[in-house]
């Protein structure tokens, strides 16, 4: 009986150790999988964001719409530049000598609570009639 009890204890310890190892490995696999998945998606989304802001800045449309405060056109241009399965929202700030002052936002879709969201920013240097810099923060998600 004593021997059997001892054996049972061994089994119990065996079981606990094995469970811990399995759980540990599975947790690592899950975490690693989700981190790399998130990183891939984050890189993909941020590249889209960079490209979108770059294209609009190079064409002069970013500066034009931001300084004219034409948010409807800016939203349409961003929408045209991004793939249809990527959603966005943005904020625009004005430089107020020591800090950024929000002038609009959020504009676009409502940001979801359960999704990976990437933020990219672009700083505009001013235009002829308004030399105060502006900053656009673009949030992207799928």
């Amino acid at each position: 009986m004593l021997l059997l009890n001892r054996k049972a204890q061994y089994y119990a310890v065996d079981f606990i150790v094995a469970s811990l190892i399995i759980l540990g490995i599975l947790s690592l696999v899950y975490t690693h999988y989700y981190i790399s998945y998130d990183q891939d998606r984050a890189v993909y989304l941020s590249n889209l964001g960079y490209r979108c802001l770059n294209v609009l800045a190079e064409s002069g449309e970013l500066s034009k719409t931001v300084y004219n405060e034409d948010w409807e056109t800016l939203s349409q241009l961003i929408d045209l530049t991004l793939p249809s399965n990527v959603y966005f929202s943005y904020y625009v700030y004005r430089w107020g000598s020591e800090s950024w002052i929000r002038i609009v936002g959020p504009v676009g879709e409502d940001m979801p609570d359960n999704s990976l969201i990437v933020k990219v920013t672009y700083v505009l240097s001013g235009n002829y009639t308004d030399t105060s810099p502006r900053k656009i923060e673009l949030y992207l998600w799928e």
């Binding site: 359960n114 240097s125 235009n127």
Partner: protein
């Protein structure tokens, strides 16, 4: 027999507990993941550098636009102070933006290397702001440094005046030159030649046909307004037989 039943129960229990633990772990991991608004701030130093460089050049262009306007209206008092004011504001804004996000940013210029020239008489007119700006951005992984020649030149000249079929064909050239490399670009402008809107024909050339059937002298007056706000004017008098 009794021992075997106990062992079988034990293994069954073990499998059930493992299954419950695995399911619980998955639910917890997914639950936590889905309930957190996961906003990642993307920090690509190369993108930031390209943004800073492009906008710094734009900044110099808008300074030139302001200097030109003030100069032409006769209110320009000190181009160096104005240029420094605009550059310093820009540098302060960038520092605030990027240093708060963990970057080291250094934008600097030597005021001895800043000069402004504008000349408005004759058929070639120009507005020039020379500036050299050091741009350096660093994060933990990379450092990018470049000395940017931010010199901007806006140049307008009357290229051709010809009589064609009883009309006067006038061509003007309006270009923007940036940097040492004479990197010339066309800055799309609104150009009036003797109050007639000129058409853009390519390569920085604008053309207008003026109604002029007589002879004698004619003064060609060109006014160009670029998107940045720079405007320059060219003037030439022609004798026509």
């Amino acid at each position: 027999m009794f021992i075997k039943v106990k062992r079988a129960q034990f293994y069954t229990m073990a499998v059930v507990i493992i299954a419950i633990a695995l399911i619980s772990t998955s639910i917890i991991i997914l639950g936590v993941r889905n309930n957190v608004k996961d906003v990642k701030v993307s920090e690509d130093i190369y993108f930031i550098f390209s943004n800073v460089k492009r906008e710094t050049l734009e900044r110099v262009e808008l300074i030139l636009a302001n200097l030109t306007q003030a100069d032409k209206s006769g209110t320009l008092t000190g181009y160096l102070e104005i240029t420094q004011y605009y550059l310093d504001e820009w540098i302060e804004c960038l520092r605030n933006e990027y240093e708060n996000r963990g970057f080291k940013i250094d934008l600097s210029y030597n005021s001895d290397q800043i000069s402004y020239t504008g000349y408005w008489t004759g058929n070639i007119t120009a507005s020039i702001l020379r500036a050299i700006i050091n741009v350096q951005i660093e994060d933990e992984d990379a450092s990018i440094k470049q000395i940017v020649n931010a010199t901007h030149i806006f140049r307008l000249y009357i290229g051709k005046v010809e009589r064609v079929n009883g009309k006067l064909l006038v061509e003007v050239n309006f270009t923007k030159i940036v940097g040492y490399s004479n990197e010339s670009s066309i800055d799309y402008a609104t150009i009036y030649i003797n109050d007639t809107l000129a058409n853009y024909v390519g390569g920085g050339v604008y053309r207008a046909e003026l109604a002029f059937t007589g002879s004698g002298t004619i003064t060609i007056y060109v006014a160009a307004t670029a998107p940045s706000g720079v405007f320059v004017e060219a003037l030439e008098t022609y004798s026509l037989e």
